[in-house]
């Protein structure tokens, strides 16, 4: 047994806070009293296990009075999938000015420190990335990222309420034959698109001491007499109303037009059956992964992945029992359900047409979804909560299978693109959804 002298333990206890006081550093703060609050990126990270609901961010689609049966054998009805969305804007913790929220690292980075990247030996060149030898930060605030399921995991309730769909998240949810509703996140695509603003302050006092006053009156002209007085000679006939012509109050004429749904339903007019260079991959064309295209796919999956954070595609499958978490109500009855042996699964691959963009540029996103399970799935819905820097171009959405598209404005100005695949997706089948965005 390790024995420590009590006196040493006491000294250690006294020195403990002193040692911890130097664990933070910020360039804008003195080392004596370093800050714990982030200066940029602001906000404490939300608790990862607590779904935060914000009713004011709800979709305009009315909530159904009764939840539709999730079984996919039901005929598809777009209104059977109304979604009430509750999002959470989670911001990653910041580490002080200059060490902004969201650090990125190369894809091949294997160091334990996720925020390191190799330093630059040549001052005029960007540091060669891929060799984890440094200890510096590369901020991620120059990138617009889209895809994946960051922050709080997305959950879809029985009544189609989507929770935890943060900005920049892209997920798809589907129903299985045994009635489960599952969620699959896409990979994450990053685009280099920095945007700048400025803060101005003016120093100095400017005053105007111009005072004007009446100097004098040069000439005074007084009225001498009234020379002519005109008296009234004739009187015009005044017309009075004979009667009340209209009896309706003005409020009657008020136009009563009921507000339409806020959702912008855009039907797919055509599907471009040609593949652009960035998406001309076997996994996009046929849904079959080809080893020879691994390098190109890795490049297209995350356009900035070489200088972005590791964003491997992850599968987050939530079952319906997620709603019971935290309720504290014990189960009153245990029901055993014998599930079929099928393994439903969905794969979503997302690629972007550009690696970098200036404000005003247009970027095309391609979402390839495939049923990689061994049974059909239904009510396949793809949801993409776009970055505040992106906006969907009207009429740009298309799909090679029958689908309906919705673009919803959120209160904070972001948009959510939703594609609902009408027909069930059989095992081994899939489709392609494309839409264009303008960089703000």
């Amino acid at each position: 047994m390790l024995k420590i002298h009590p006196l040493r333990l006491a000294i250690l206890a006294l020195l403990l806070p002193v040692g911890l006081s130097g664990c933070h550093s910020s360039p804008w703060t003195a080392a004596v009293v370093p800050p714990a609050q982030p200066l940029s990126g602001g906000g404490m990270p939300a608790h990862p296990t607590l779904p935060v609901t914000q009713p004011n961010m709800a979709f305009a689609v009315p909530k159904p009075t009764s939840a539709p049966h999730p079984h996919i054998t039901q005929p598809h009805n777009p209104l059977s999938r109304p979604i009430e969305l509750f999002g959470v804007n989670s911001s990653e913790p910041a580490y002080g000015i200059g060490d902004q929220a969201g650090t990125v690292l190369p894809a091949s980075f294997t160091n334990n420190d996720p925020n390191c990247y190799p330093p630059s030996d040549e001052s005029d060149q960007l540091p060669a990335r891929g060799t984890p030898t440094g200890g510096y930060f590369i901020p991620g605030d120059e990138l617009i990222c889209d895809g994946g399921d960051e922050g709080i995991g997305v959950a879809v309730d029985q009544d189609w309420t989507v929770r935890g769909l943060d900005s920049e998240d892209t997920i798809g949810h589907f129903d299985t034959l045994d009635g489960e509703r599952r969620i699959q996140a896409s990979n994450r695509v990053c685009i280099y698109a920095p945007r700048f603003g400025s803060v101005r302050k003016t120093y100095g006092i400017s005053s105007n001491a111009n005072v004007q006053q009446l100097a004098g009156v040069d000439s005074q002209v007084a009225m001498v007499e009234i020379e002519e007085v005109d008296i009234t000679s004739t009187t015009l006939q005044n017309l009075q109303p004979r009667g009340q012509v209209g009896s309706k109050a003005p409020s009657t004429y008020r136009e009563r037009t009921r507000g339409m749904e806020l959702e912008n339903r855009v039907a797919s007019s055509a599907f471009k059956n040609r593949f652009s260079l960035f998406e001309d991959l076997s996994i996009i064309r046929h849904g079959i992964f080809d080893q020879d295209e691994k390098a190109r796919l890795a490049e297209g999956l995350s356009a900035a992945e070489s200088w972005g954070r590791i964003e491997a595609p992850q599968a987050v499958i939530d079952n319906l029992t997620v709603d019971s978490i935290g309720t504290g109500v014990p189960a009153a009855e245990t029901v055993l359900v014998e599930k079929p042996e099928g393994k439903p699964d969905l794969r979503i691959v997302k690629v972007a047409s550009a690696k970098d963009a200036l404000p005003g540029d247009i970027i095309e996103f391609t979402l390839r979804f495939d049923n990689v399970g061994n049974e059909k799935v239904g009510n396949v819905t793809l949801l993409d909560h776009l970055s505040p820097r992106l906006e969907v171009i009207d009429g740009s959405a298309e799909c090679n299978v029958e689908a309906e598209f919705f673009v919803t404005e959120q209160n904070q100005g972001t948009q959510i693109f939703r594609a609902e695949i009408v027909a069930p997706v059989l095992s081994g089948q899939g489709g392609i959804v494309r839409f264009k965005c303008r960089v703000r």
Partner: protein, 258 residues
């Protein structure tokens, strides 16, 4: 109880007391970190000091020529102080690579509606970008000086602009036109650098005054100016002073790199 055991017991009690007070200190320290902030850098600091403090933190900042695009109102002409003269640009834009912590003298002439006036803003770079390789000049730090800035400077006021990189998650969801830069005015008692830090990552401090550079008043040639990398010098230098033999081989790391 034996004397030895009594001594050990006293040590344990003393140790427990010390641990208790140490934990109290730790709690107070954490509370202080959460509540108090002592800002170390302000926009009011002398030019170059913020950048130097940034360099002292280490990292890939030193020696990197960060592309900067300075834009002035249409009709005006912008010049950058390069080694010993003002390098004039034909258009109202000037592209150059500037070092972090370097303070660069610029000149704005032919100001619309302000004939005969010249303004000499300075640009201090305090951070850099990390664009994809080969795209450095496509994504410069935009320094936009408006007509209002110039007129205020001519009136004798001092304008400080802190250019910051927007946090994409906090960015305003509105479009931005080319050459446009959204500006936020802060009032007395507020520091533009601190305000910019809350909105994103401060990249440059632009100080716009109406003073003529001291070295020009003294007839000096601007020795000590930070190295500059001109990307698109268009017009020939008409105001170049004759270079002395000492200036032809400037000592140390200074001068224009072409």
């Amino acid at each position: 109880m034996q004397p030895a055991e009594s001594s050990q017991s006293h040590w344990r009690i003393l140790c427990a007391i010390l641990v208790f007070f140490a934990s109290q200190n730790l709690t107070a320290l954490c509370y202080g970190q959460a509540r108090d902030r002592h800002l170390q850098q302000f926009a009011d600091l002398p030019p170059g000091q913020v950048g130097q403090m940034q360099l002292s933190r280490g990292g890939p900042l030193a020696g990197y020529f960060q592309p900067v695009r300075m834009t002035v109102p249409k009709g005006a002409q912008v010049s950058l102080w390069a080694e010993d003269h003002f390098e004039a640009f034909e258009a109202n834009q000037a592209d150059a690579g500037m070092l972090v912590s370097g303070v660069y003298r610029t000149r704005v002439t032919r100001i619309p509606g302000q004939a005969g006036f010249e303004v000499y803003p300075t640009i201090e770079i305090i951070n850099r970008l990390f664009p994809p390789q080969g795209q450095e000049q496509k994504y410069p730090i935009p320094v936009v000086i408006t007509q209002e800035d110039l007129e205020r400077a001519i009136e004798g006021q001092f304008v400080v602009r802190v250019v910051y990189l927007e946090d994409p998650l906090l960015a305003l969801p509105v479009r931005q036109r080319e050459g446009e830069q959204r500006a936020v005015d802060v009032g007395p008692g507020e520091d533009p650098l601190v305000a910019a830090d809350k909105l994103g990552r401060p990249m440059a401090i632009v100080r716009i005054g109406s003073r003529v550079p001291t070295e020009m008043l003294n007839g000096q040639s601007g020795e000590g100016a930070a190295p500059l990398k001109l990307y698109r010098a268009s017009s020939p230098t008409t105001e170049t002073k004759p270079r002395s033999s000492a200036q032809q081989t400037p000592p140390g790391y200074r001068g224009t790199i072409r």
